[in-house]
């Protein structure tokens, strides 16, 4: 073998063989292109719209306004003068101050230092172009016609800015300390939460995989609970526990739960299952033979842990760390509920857009938020690839042996973590049933009368279920079919590579950012797709896109486990690829398909960030209702609605379990030997 020598070889000149594309391949390419277009329309184009929004600036263009001042008799004898030339001589408004936002106003009197509203002179104002806009009082005036007004009215004249493009918004952002502080705050809570969560989850996963601790399956079940509730629910529970009227407020020793403490505690709760799952997987692939070697070398347990366990799980730990970091830094619900005065990026987007109607600045914060998220995501992908390489080695699974002392220590540890998780949920349920905390502790169902509250009432709950079902069905179809096409179609490599890339993108896009991008893109009247704005469709589309990546990866993993040659066999037998797809691929991948559906359903039920900008009164959602009821101070009903989501998701999970079992039994008989 001499690859160098072979490398020198080259093909003889001649025509490249061009495959006659079969009907199947044609079909598959069309479908792939179609799903590709779907991803572009639902992901790339909205993001582009958002990006262009972030560089769309507003400026007072002084060239566009012209004034004329009369003499005391009211005759306009002096020549008209441009605002820009007035400003040049006066220096009244600095260049920086001319940059503004969409609702910027500039008083016309700025250009007349000796202005007095008692003066008998009259003023005229007009635009030099049709775009020029100014307010007289609150009435909008545009165009090149002169408007004549007395001096008392002239003080009510405000110039309006015109739109242009540039990086002005970014420079405004980075020169606003209140906004800049959020970057630091976001990183701070993300790092702290990540450290705590990963440590806790590692211990938990270690106990379940490396010790003979009892009640393993119960602990595993409890660890997954937080996935079933919106991220802001732990926030509500923490308020009931540690707020100023909290059941355990003494534990705060005068500190406050509102702020980083609350965000970190809540983040640990809602990111725990994610970290636990990843680390468990990493620990379960570690090779038992290393442990046998360590024992035979009389290595101390601590040394074994350092030399064998940690390195074996290191990719899992790194991956978990980045996933948690990403979840925390992009989360919106929790800091909104319990963040107090502690500003973070995700909430800033909301405040900019909802509080100040400053969409451009919202887009700027979004762009800033994407950067750490994409970084974390990229590192995670690289690490994941390494972990896969580790996986391919055949490992002997580790069988822990009982150790009374260690096992009881682990039991206490797992129990404590479980108490934390179950405790928060239980507190929420209790709070939801108390009539008027803390003054009237009788139990009642008053808080479940959602129709009396903000947030859309019971309709929100049913909308959420509808969204969950639609997302599960539509999303599973698109995701699985897309993954199938990418995995199993022939040729068209560039297209497939591109598709893979786009499919990975949603994971790096924070929900808030996606939601905002959707407003910009779908609410534009120039967009023929704006018919879906304000409908359930846009919520489904947004949710499917938001959770596309994980579903796609699940599908791809399942498809990769299928024999690569099924399609080749079918082609040799002159059977269509579609027949293999329906008769073989779908039945064999049914477990994965069900997993994708339940994943999409649960997430559609709990998601807040992506849809908070997109819901309409007909499509209010339970998770948004939790947010809005909490926002309005109806914390107990918010807890009640949160618990409804929990029970629904738990129910869906159980249903999914039974359904999978039944379907597996019927269609996957072949799995049993």
């Amino acid at each position: 073998m001499n690859p160098a020598a072979k490398g020198k070889l080259s093909l003889p000149a001649g025509r490249d063989i061009k495959a006659v594309v079969s009907r199947d391949d044609h079909m598959m390419r069309w479908w792939m292109a179609l799903i590709g277009v779907y991803l572009i329309v639902t992901l790339a184009m909205p993001l582009y719209a958002m990006l262009s929004k972030s560089v769309s600036t507003y400026r007072f263009d002084l060239q566009q306004f012209e004034f004329q001042v009369s003499d005391e008799a009211g005759d306009f004898t002096s020549p008209p003068v441009l605002a820009s030339s007035l400003n040049q001589t006066l220096g009244a408004v600095s260049a920086q101050a001319l940059n503004t936002s969409a609702d910027g106003r500039l008083a016309a009197t700025e250009f007349f230092p000796d202005f007095s509203f008692r003066s008998p002179v009259n003023y005229r104002i007009r635009g030099t172009s049709e775009q020029a806009a100014y307010l007289v009082g609150s009435s909008l005036t545009t165009g090149t016609e002169w408007t004549e007004i007395d001096s008392n009215t002239f003080r009510r004249v405000q110039l309006r800015p015109v739109a242009s493009t540039g990086l002005g918004n970014f420079s405004t952002y980075f020169s606003t300390p209140a906004l800049m502080g959020s970057i630091r705050n976001s990183l701070y809570i993300a790092v702290i939460s990540t450290l705590i969560t990963v440590t806790l989850a590692f211990g938990f996963a270690y106990a379940l995989s490396r010790s003979c601790v009892r009640y393993k399956s119960t602990f595993r079940l409890i660890a997954m609970i937080p996935i079933l509730v919106p991220s802001l629910l732990p926030g509500i529970a923490l308020i009931y526990l540690f707020g100023n009227q909290g059941m355990l407020k003494e534990l705060m020793f005068g500190g406050t739960i509102y702020g980083p403490t609350g965000i970190v505690l809540g983040s640990v709760f809602f990111t725990f299952p994610h970290a636990f799952l990843i680390i468990s997987t990493a620990l379960s692939i570690s090779d038992a033979r290393y442990y046998e070697a360590a024992v035979s070398l009389r290595s101390s347990p601590w040394r074994t842990f350092r030399v064998v366990t940690l390195p074996g799980a290191r990719y899992g730990i790194i991956s978990a760390a980045f996933v948690v970091f990403n979840l925390v830094i992009t989360d919106f619900g929790l800091p909104k509920v319990i963040g107090g005065q502690f500003n973070v990026l995700a909430v800033d987007i909301y405040k900019q857009v909802i509080g100040q109607q400053n969409f451009e600045m919202g887009a700027v914060v979004s762009v800033v938020l994407i950067i750490p998220a994409i970084l974390a995501f990229t590192i995670d992908r690289i690490v994941q690839r390494k972990q896969v390489a580790l996986l391919s080695a055949r490992a002997v699974p580790y069988q822990p042996s009982p150790d009374k002392k260690a096992d009881s220590i682990w039991l206490v540890y797992c129990a404590m973590v479980s108490v934390f998780i179950v405790g928060l949920i239980a507190v929420c349920q209790y709070a939801a049933l108390v009539k008027f905390w803390p003054y009237n502790l009788t139990l009642s169902l008053n808080n479940y009368q959602f129709d009396q509250m903000d947030g859309g009432g019971w309709a929100s709950y049913f909308n959420s279920i509808k969204l969950g079902l639609l997302t599960a069905v539509v999303g599973t179809c698109i995701v699985f079919f897309g993954a199938y096409l990418v995995e199993k179609s022939n040729g068209f490599n560039t297209g497939r590579g591109l598709f893979q890339m786009v499919a990975m993108l949603p994971m790096a896009i924070p929900g808030m950012v996606l939601g905002l991008a959707y407003i910009f893109f779908f609410n534009s009247p120039a967009n023929p797709l704006n018919v879906i704005y304000g409908t359930m469709t846009i919520l489904v589309v947004c949710t499917v896109t938001h959770f596309y990546t994980v579903s796609h990866l699940t599908a791809v993993t399942a498809l990769k486990q299928m024999d690569r040659e099924f399609e080749a066999v079918a082609a040799s037998l002159k059977q269509s690829a579609l027949k293999v797809f329906t008769r073989v691929t779908i039945p064999v991948c049914l477990p994965a398909i069900l997993d994708i559906s339940i994943y999409l359903f649960v997430n559609a039920m709990t998601t807040v960030s992506a849809v908070v900008f997109l819901y309409s009164p007909k499509t209010t959602l339970a998770s948004i209702a939790v947010l809005n009821m909490d926002d309005a101070g109806d914390i107990a009903p918010a807890a009640a609605m949160g618990m409804m989501i929990f029970y629904t998701n738990a129910g869906a999970r159980i249903l999914h379990l039974f359904a999978s079992r039944k379907i597996l039994k019927r269609t996957q008989a072949w799995r049993q030997r």
Partner: protein
């Protein structure tokens, strides 16, 4: 065989994956009804060639003509072949019966004729009772037979087998290669099998195509390939071969170390540096006092050690003149008994001149 008409013609086939050239200028004729094996080490390009014939991975240059039709650019579905993969690629969720029927279903056949054909095929591969099981419920060998049945169900003109036996254990493999060969004879279907197992190729093929680094080294019947390997690679790859650096003396003589051997006539000029090669089983053991009149190529060696391999002994012989550490020879159990051979004893061996093959030195590859 060579009188049959050519069924598959491969002309000047090249295949490149980026910068890597996997097939270089491969040309080959396969005759109707013939069983051809592509043999070579892993990564040599044999599977690439098979996939090009099937249309699964198109060649970069050159043409494939099947049964008079140029199929070079056609997708697999428009070619005429059945295929069995190493993994068998049986549909795990379909019963054996449905797996076999898979290709029959849209050929305008009615249910009954499909069922008949499936039963016929199950009989043919000797698994008439297993039709309602799922693939995972069968043994590897049985799965292999089902894959074969599925591939021939539509009576394709060409049967492609991609390492069909390599996933099986040794015993089953030997039995199955027998069965496949018999089945192929019975059906008369032109068959190409890819394998890296020389024994398999020798046992099954009508002709063997030895491939190395993307090129055909030699095409020939198993005996041709074994007895007359045209290149050192083939010699080395098929069976064992002792190699000596040698210098040509004249038309019938060469020198190995300080020993002189007579050899077959050849085209090398005297003084040329060559490699002389001989197979272990061609070395003839003789008693120490053997010196028959006119017998050349007899040399005294020390029997270093011997290894019992059932039907024969593999012996390592030493002679400091040969400039090689050991000479490997396979002696029949009979001969060992007859000559009472023991390790560390001296003996005579004869290297028959007509079994000694000479290759140019620069041909030698590492």
């Amino acid at each position: 065989m060579s009188k049959s008409k050519s069924y598959l013609q491969i002309d000047n086939l090249w295949k490149a994956f980026g910068d890597f050239v996997a097939l270089q200028d491969v040309s080959l004729d396969v005759f109707e009804g013939e069983f051809v094996c592509f043999l070579g080490p892993s990564g040599c390009g044999k599977t690439t060639l098979l996939r090009a014939i099937a249309g699964l991975d198109l060649q970069s240059r050159g043409s494939v003509i099947q049964d008079g039709v140029d199929v070079s650019e056609l997708p697999p579905a428009q070619r005429d072949f059945g295929i069995v993969f190493q993994s068998y690629a049986l549909f795990p969720n379909l019963t054996i019966r449905k797996n076999i029927a898979f290709g029959l279903e849209n050929a305008g056949r009615d249910r009954a004729s499909i069922n008949n054909r499936v039963e016929e095929l199950l009989q043919l591969v000797g698994l008439p009772e297993q039709g309602d099981k799922y693939p995972a419920q069968l043994s590897g060998g049985q799965q292999q037979r089902i894959a074969l049945a599925r591939a021939i169900a539509t009576s394709p003109g060409l049967l492609l087998l991609d390492e069909p036996l390599s996933a099986l254990d040794a015993k089953v493999r030997v039995r199955l290669r027998h069965e496949i060969k018999a089945l192929q004879r019975e059906l008369g279907v032109t068959t190409i099998m890819v394998t890296h197992d020389q024994e398999e190729a020798l046992a099954m093929a009508d002709r063997i195509v030895v491939i190395n680094e993307g090129r055909i080294e030699q095409v020939g019947t198993p005996t041709e390939i074994y007895q007359n390997p045209q290149t050192l690679f083939v010699a080395d790859f098929i069976g064992e071969m002792n190699q000596f650096e040698a210098t040509i003396d004249d038309q019938r003589q060469l020198q190995i170390g300080s020993s002189r051997f007579s050899c077959r006539s050849h085209e090398f000029t005297s003084g040329a540096q060559v490699i002389a090669a001989i197979r272990p089983d061609n070395i003839v053991p003789q008693p120490l006092d053997y010196k028959a009149a006119g017998e050349v190529n007899c040399h005294r060696v020390v029997l270093k050690d011997m290894e019992f391999l059932g039907s024969f002994w593999r012996c390592r012989l030493h002679n400091e003149n040969f400039k090689v550490n050991h000479l490997i020879a396979d002696f029949s159990a009979n001969a060992v008994r007859r000559l009472n051979l023991q390790p560390d004893q001296s003996m005579m061996v004869q290297l028959p001149e007509d079994t000694m093959i000479i290759y140019a030195r620069d041909e030698a590859r590492v």
